[in-house]
């Protein structure tokens, strides 16, 4: 199932960001601010890292992930410096672990190794916490951030069988329809 621009807008709405239907949502969420230091990842590399996490935590049958994640992250961090810093910090943390164990940034690892990094960090059973330990912040700002985006979007809901998931303002008629109606 393909994640569309509409899904990104819907997921943003679930997070308190109202974006006009005609909004451009162009650009990179990690752009802006100061010129990154030479030893720091560029905005493109950061976006790649977030997409790399999505590749692990999203089910194989969704497509259009890169565009979805880019648009979603763009809307999420607009005018929210603190939130952007939270995501950036979680991605940097992932890179640190990836470099320690595999000598490469997270985004440069193959799919299996990325998953193993998250497993080794025990992010799967970490309690999400924006102010917590490394694994708790990675769970909050990277893994859960992306899962929230997916499963409050119509396409994410449909994957499970609920086209109007909680958090998505999908109207007051879907609850009346029977299966397949």
């Amino acid at each position: 199932m393909e994640l569309s621009r509409r899904d990104a807008l819907a997921a943003l709405a679930a997070g308190g960001v109202t974006v006009g239907a005609t909004a451009a949502l162009d650009g990179n969420p990690f752009d802006g601010g100061d010129e990154p230091a030479p030893d720091r990842p560029s905005p493109e590399e950061r976006l790649d890292a977030l997409v790399a996490v999505a590749d692990v935590v999203y089910p194989a049958e969704v497509s259009g992930v890169e565009e979805f994640v880019r648009r979603y992250a763009l809307g999420r961090v607009e005018d929210r410096e603190g939130y952007r810093d939270g995501i950036v910090d979680a991605l940097d943390t992932l890179d640190e672990y990836a470099r320690t164990w595999h000598d490469a940034d997270f985004r440069a690892l193959d799919a299996e190794t990325r998953e193993s990094v998250l497993d080794q960090m025990a992010v799967d059973d970490a309690d999400p916490d924006p102010d917590g330990s490394d694994r708790e912040r990675v769970r909050y700002y990277a893994v859960n951030e992306l899962l929230y985006a997916l499963y409050t979007s119509p396409t994410g809901g449909e994957l499970v069988g609920i086209e109007n998931p909680q958090g998505h303002p999908g109207g007051a008629t879907s609850y009346r329809r029977g299966p397949g109606e």
């Binding site: 935590v57 049958e61 929230y148 499970v160 069988g161 109007n164 909680q166 958090g167 303002p169």
Partner: protein, 543 residues
Amino acid sequence: MTDGTTPDRTPSERADVCVVGAGPAGALVAHRLASDGRDVVILEAGERFDFADRTERMERAIRPAHHPHSVWEMGGERDAYTAAGERSYPLNAARVKGVGGTTLHWQGMVMRFRESDFEPWPIDYRDLRPYYAEAESLLGVAGADDNPFGPPREEPFPLPAFEPSHSDSVFAEACERLGVAMHSVPNARNSEGYDGRSACVGYGTCKPVCPSGAKYSADHHVERAESEGARVIDRAPVQRLEHDAAGDRVTAAVYAAPDGRTHRQEAREFVLAAGGVETPRLLLLSESSAYPDGLANSSGAVGRYFMDHLFAGMGGTIDRETRQNHVGFITSECHQFYDDPTRGTDGPAGGVPEWSGDGPEPGPLKLEFLNYAGPSPVETALAGDEWGDDLLDSLRESYGDSIAMGGLVGQRPRKENRIALDRSTTDDHGNPVPEIHWQLDDRTEATLRRANEIQAAILDELGVEVSWTVGPEATGPAFHHMGTTRMGLDPESSVVNPRLRTHDLRNLAIASSGVFVTSGALNPTLTIAALALKAADHVDERL
């Protein structure tokens, strides 16, 4: 504004009425009196929340990192309390402090009490009937006149009812076979745009937050009151009420401001609308030499007879798609067993058996058909320990076939259930915190068992594999705080008279479910709203 950033929290020089609390009771009193041209000041302990933040609050409610109390900033020293009864009471899950009060968090089911509910009261259904109609129109109630067990009504609901859910239609088959009636639920929720608020758009998170404003919350009437000239001072918890030398009239409400200063708001009339726990607490805190046991407490009834409704429920899975969790409210109920909970039913496939239990007979109960049974996929996803394809498989496995019923049962007024002061623990202003003494009696437990019996008969007829039951052991409160400043004719045994004025003080009224004499088994807020409008009329007469 005094300096452009800090709101002016000094008292108004001249006020006709000072209202304490900006929940639905206070909001409606203030709106009505301000519309009548009265000078009204509302003192509200909590803050004024920005409507634009509601979606972020919803995210907090869905994402597991955030404590449920953080959605509306509850908890901490300000909200400290002691649960001293046999049963613990989670008070801060049961209220919100802020402009709009607990309706910011509530579910929004709104029924009129039935005629039988008023039997022990000094007023009856007829006295409240016009106020009920008005309250329905102010709150924007969506409903249909299809409840054969409801009290008489002439005028239609202001908004059409929400149509039954797919899940209701699954229940309807079994209920028909058993002779169990189903009917709509009045909802303080816009089935169409109403009074400047949006129609429901299906966020599905009504409780604890509706981002669209389709669910009624009392901040709406606070704003309306302000546009009629009322003044609201937020973050201004009232510390105590002062009275004149004769002990006849309240002279001022003493409140604290965030800058540490204390102010006195004087007024001709005072209306307490601080909810069923803080209202009696404030009276107890206002003890004086004339009122050594607490203000307006010559009867000794202040804080006593605390009642709540109890939840009874049952649910499991069925071999069909039930399509839960699209919306966060319910669309069907059954009030058939309200007046006679022991009755059986007759249908083509048998019926619900009569109550066979020994011991005390059950009291009033109502049954609910839930539209949010079982897990919400997004919440499961965020709290689980899987991702990728494994997570999707688990979500598909857990979502789709859940089904459940809920229900409410009432409690009888008992003197020993009460709100007192815990003088060993103080809040952020050094005041003793509320101490809640609460327990269930045999009759309430029998009623919970009876609700479970009926639920079991219906779920069994449907072929549901029952996986959970909430009965007398696991039950919890529905967060309806009643009885603590009860109404009555006799000043020796009650706190307010049928005009909602305290027997002891001539210019002090109470608008709250605290004045309820009995609890019934129906959600209280429409009755609170009707009583608030009645109280406002009597205040107006006195001015």
